[in-house]
């Protein structure tokens, strides 16, 4: 998988209540939810971003609640992937289980600036910052996670096991 998009940069510890405020949680309709993506951290985010754009966060991205609505929202909004220094545990799990791409890279998350154009090549494990022409190597996903992806997500994996 390969994505190229413009970067929106966020700080450390972006929490799930900022990604999608809990007050909108009275529905699980992805389209309804996506209207409020990142609203409490940047109320104009949905006006500014274009499908295919990439989010770059700091450490502990997606901390807080276990609500899968957070990665659902980002995916539905059209965010191609999130690059961060580190991810909160449940957000990481949820993203994998539902097939939303996330990439952990301390160096890339530090260097990349808002507005840069970045190419993420998951197959080859490389992030290319096209604006600065700098490349970053990404550690491959653990073997089990690759099996989950190859199976088409957790639900398919579990069904196959039964």
């Amino acid at each position: 998988m390969k994505f190229t998009g413009k970067v929106w940069k966020f700080r450390d510890d972006v929490n799930t209540d900022e990604i999608i405020p809990a007050r909108y949680m009275n529905t699980s309709d992805p389209k309804e939810l996506a209207k409020h993506t990142m609203e409490d951290i940047d109320k104009d985010f949905m006006k500014k971003m274009k499908p295919g754009d990439i989010i770059v966060g700091g450490k502990n991205f997606g901390c807080g609640s276990s609500r899968e609505h957070a990665p659902i929202c980002l995916k539905e909004a059209g965010v191609a992937c999130v690059i961060a220094k580190s991810f909160a545990r449940i957000f990481y799990r949820n993203s994998f289980n539902m097939g939303f791409s996330i990439v952990e890279s301390q160096e890339a998350a530090e260097d990349i600036k808002e507005g840069d154009t970045v190419e993420v090549d998951l197959g080859n494990g490389v992030i290319n910052n096209k604006t600065t022409d700098k490349a970053y190597k990404v550690a491959p996903y653990p073997k089990f996670m690759q099996e989950l992806i190859n199976a088409g997500g957790l639900m398919k994996y579990v069904q196959r096991q039964k």
Partner: protein
């Protein structure tokens, strides 16, 4: 090589003699849990996968606690999804409004979760049950769907951190203050992916309510689970309550920890976490003059009977300050009933507080006490993120029921000593 209590429970549920940190396992689950926000997505995935029956109708728990009693039409639709699924699957542990309580207060109280269990819940505060000596962690809706079908989940065995507390707690210091202090010490990702084991003579003397508050907030330090070795207090709590036979595990003397931290508990003050992260913890003496508009006593962190007793003791015979709204939300119907019996409800109402039926309500900015822009609340809840209790320009200060009740009287963040 020795194992921690967490490793032992995981090994037992993976059918292995031993497990090591970093190892990926499939664990058999004793209980899987969802609520009115997370379960609708899981139920839809369950159906999309073509599944017909849950793996065990006695082990899947659905609790409509977040936006119930239904706050609006959309929430009513979500709660209906749970209700219909619970009926169709004949789930034993579905709790309708009127019997429902905040999930993480309800499950231990009803004896549905017990020592030695492995539990996942589609709610981040599922880590609460570690207080009983169980492995318990929060997951998302897809994990819940898969576990409802298979009764299993995949887990990475976490590295362990140990937090040793020594000494007698000062007056008005509770389990809540200890955990806020720890989060202030290590930060909101200080235990990321790790197990947090709490021990030492302070913990051995801490009530089950205090232990539940501590394990409840392990997630606020990024932890995978919080856990306390079961002992006499655990045994007493589980007696006549636990539906299944508890299994007591304990960490080996030579178990491996990536970090061991010692705290002189006698020196820990009542602690308040300032906006907008639980790690912005300050001792009460360094809080300064912070005027407030609302006080919330309740939630899965501090909505148990001991919390209600503590708040009532402080506010008894006094009045809620004229510029403050005080909300008291017992976490379960049993807590509510006990409050009536002990005259606590009367104390709160006489003081000018609103007492409500159990709900997560304001904790996540759902309903029942939302803040306007610029307003501040002292809450016994677990998160103070931007907009957590209402407008993104409102503020939440996390504290114990003692601080919350005293603050309701003075109209600013205060300790009970300031009332004399």
């Amino acid at each position: 090589m020795g194992m921690t209590i967490t490793e032992k429970i995981l090994a037992a549920h993976a059918g292995k003699k031993e497990v090591k940190p970093g190892e990926l396992i499939w664990a058999k689950l004793d209980i899987v849990l969802g609520n009115d926000i997370t379960a609708p997505i899981a139920i839809s995935e369950f159906k999309n996968a073509g599944a017909k029956k849950v793996f065990d109708k006695d082990r899947v728990c659905l609790i409509p606690d977040h936006f119930t009693p239904n706050k609006d039409i959309k929430s009513a639709e979500q709660a209906k999804v749970l209700r219909e699924f619970a009926r169709e699957q004949k789930l034993k542990n579905y709790f309708e409004v009127g019997k429902m309580g905040v999930e993480h207060a309800l499950l231990p109280e009803q004896g549905i979760v017990t020592a030695g269990d492995a539990i996942i819940g589609a709610d981040s505060h599922t880590c609460t049950y570690g207080a009983l000596g169980a492995f318990s962690t929060g997951v998302g809706s897809t994990d819940l769907a898969a576990a409802m079908i298979s009764g299993k989940t995949w887990l990475k065995v976490p590295e362990a951190m140990k937090f040793v507390f020594k000494g007698k707690l000062s007056k008005w210091v509770t389990g809540k203050d200890l955990i806020l202090h720890v989060i202030g010490d290590i930060g909101v990702d200080g235990a990321l992916y790790r197990s947090m084991e709490f021990c030492g003579d302070t913990i051995e003397n801490l009530s089950m309510e205090g232990r539940l508050s501590m394990c409840n907030m392990a997630i606020e330090a990024g932890g995978k689970n919080g856990i306390i070795a079961p002992d006499k207090i655990t045994k007493e709590f589980l007696k006549g309550r636990s539906e299944r036979k508890p299994v007591f595990f304990a960490s080996d003397k030579d178990a491996k920890y990536v970090d061991v931290r010692e705290y002189n508990a006698a020196k820990i003050e009542p602690t308040v976490s300032f906006p907008h992260l639980p790690s912005n913890a300050r001792p009460l003496s360094k809080v300064g003059n912070v005027k407030i508009d609302q006080v919330v006593v309740g939630s899965c962190t501090n909505g148990r009977i001991e919390d209600m007793r503590l708040a009532a003791k402080i506010i008894k015979g006094k009045k809620v300050h004229s510029t403050v709204r005080m909300l008291v939300i017992p976490a379960t119907q049993a807590v509510f009933m006990q409050m009536f019996k002990e005259g606590l409800t009367e104390i709160f109402v006489n003081a000018g507080a609103a007492v409500s039926t159990p709900t997560c309500g304001p904790c996540l900015g759902g309903h029942m006490g939302i803040l306007a822009a610029g307003e501040r609340a002292v809450a016994t809840t677990n998160r103070n993120f931007v907009g957590r209790m209402g407008d993104p320009k409102s503020e939440v200060y996390l504290a114990s029921p003692a601080i919350a009740a005293a603050s309701a009287v003075t109209g600013k963040i205060s300790g009970p000593e300031e009332l004399h």
